[in-house]
Symmetry: C2
Subunit: 229 residues, 2 copies
């Protein structure tokens, strides 16, 4: 029953060892390898419900879309992370929809929704894992909510730029002001205004389609300010 995906499943799924041989076989036999190019959609609101994506390589973005088309990034997932909301149809009592796109070229293993649903009804370890995954994402979303509600925009933008530089591994960030606004659930004009202020302060240098962080220390200092007090 050893299959080319088995080692990865064993490594990433913490409940693998608690499955029966038959359950392991069903899982490996049903897993589908998928590749997505940068910008491609993995999941679109309630239009599809493919299943859980186990990210092999690349990066995906999970975001919320308002009725009028405004976006806000809820979280991003990286290598070895598992995307559960692309299987939202099997999670009862979820009545919101999220969108998932590939931020870079991405390789993933898809565990089909029905297979995982059946598994989590027969294996308490798998059910418990689904619960933990949801709790993690819930925590991510609460963190976004805390930022949106209680942090000033300069602080949020500074945190985002540092996170982005960290993800990209360099201080030159290729993201339009529109894209940054979509990450932060804000308007492009607001991002433009704040980035210009950052530029005047010598913190960043703007160029067409992106920006260069010039003063990390000052950017970091912004994330420590507490505008509420």
């Amino acid at each position: 029953m050893e299959n080319v995906v088995t080692p990865l499943m064993r490594e990433i799924l913490p409940f693998w060892g608690e499955l029966t041989d038959a359950q392991q076989k069903t899982l490996t036999d049903s897993v589908v390898r998928k590749t997505f190019t940068k910008g491609e959609s993995l999941h679109s609101g309630d239009e599809d419900c493919l299943g859980l994506f186990v990210i092999k390589s690349g990066r995906i973005r999970v975001f919320f879309l308002s009725e009028s088309g405004k976006e806000v990034t809820l979280y991003r997932l990286f290598e070895r992370d598992i995307c559960i909301f692309s299987a939202s149809c099997i999670i009862r009592n979820i009545n919101f929809e999220v969108f998932v796109t590939a931020e870079t070229d991405t390789e993933a293993l898809l565990i089909p929704a029905l297979i995982f649903d059946r598994l989590s009804r027969s294996s308490i370890a798998a059910a418990d894992y689904a619960n933990q995954l949801m709790a993690s994402r819930f925590s991510d979303v609460m963190w976004v909510m805390e930022q949106v509600m209680f942090m000033s925009f300069d602080k949020r933008l500074a945190m985002f730029l540092l996170e982005q530089a960290n993800i990209e591994g360099k201080d030159r960030i290729h993201l339009t002001q529109e894209a940054i606004a979509n990450h932060l659930g804000s308007a492009r004009e607001v991002v433009t205004r704040m980035l210009r202020y950052f530029q005047e302060e010598g913190i960043v240098e703007l160029f067409r389609g992106g920006l260069q962080i010039k003063d990390r220390k000052k950017l970091l200092a912004l994330t420590y300010t507490n505008p509420e007090t």
Copy 2:
């Protein structure tokens, strides 16, 4: 094994019928009856972790508190609802803290955290139910986030006043402007300004410690506006 709390448990817990006799007995034997007076705390961030509260009567409020003491209501729970975040210590991967207080005098049954933890590790039906509860609360929180991010404040305030009138069963709302601000995660000054505007428009009449809804139709119309377009 019939106990005074058994009928309520059977009625409220959808997984009751799938428990073994021994599991049912453990549950009924360990459940504790609790009463809370209006304003009393049921759960305070990470300071306690009593367990799941099954609301017999009354109303509780679950809210988030920022570092500097700002509040926002995440959801309210009513008769027959179950509060899971008062048992947050048994939910792995939850790294945010919420607060729970009684909004009216409240009677509840407490299922101790350790008992439920053990149950959800031995009963797939109980584990699945915990998962559904969390998914419901996740959906509630996403709804709050959607409001905060994408709705204008007049719309949010109008929705809150209508919800409150609905809960109280009357159009005379006894809530200070401070309390309303804490529900909405806003500043008191912002609430005051908007309520004064509502009063000028003949929608509400303010009095010390509360307000009277004068024109439901206009209030309802505000909730339909879409300021994003």
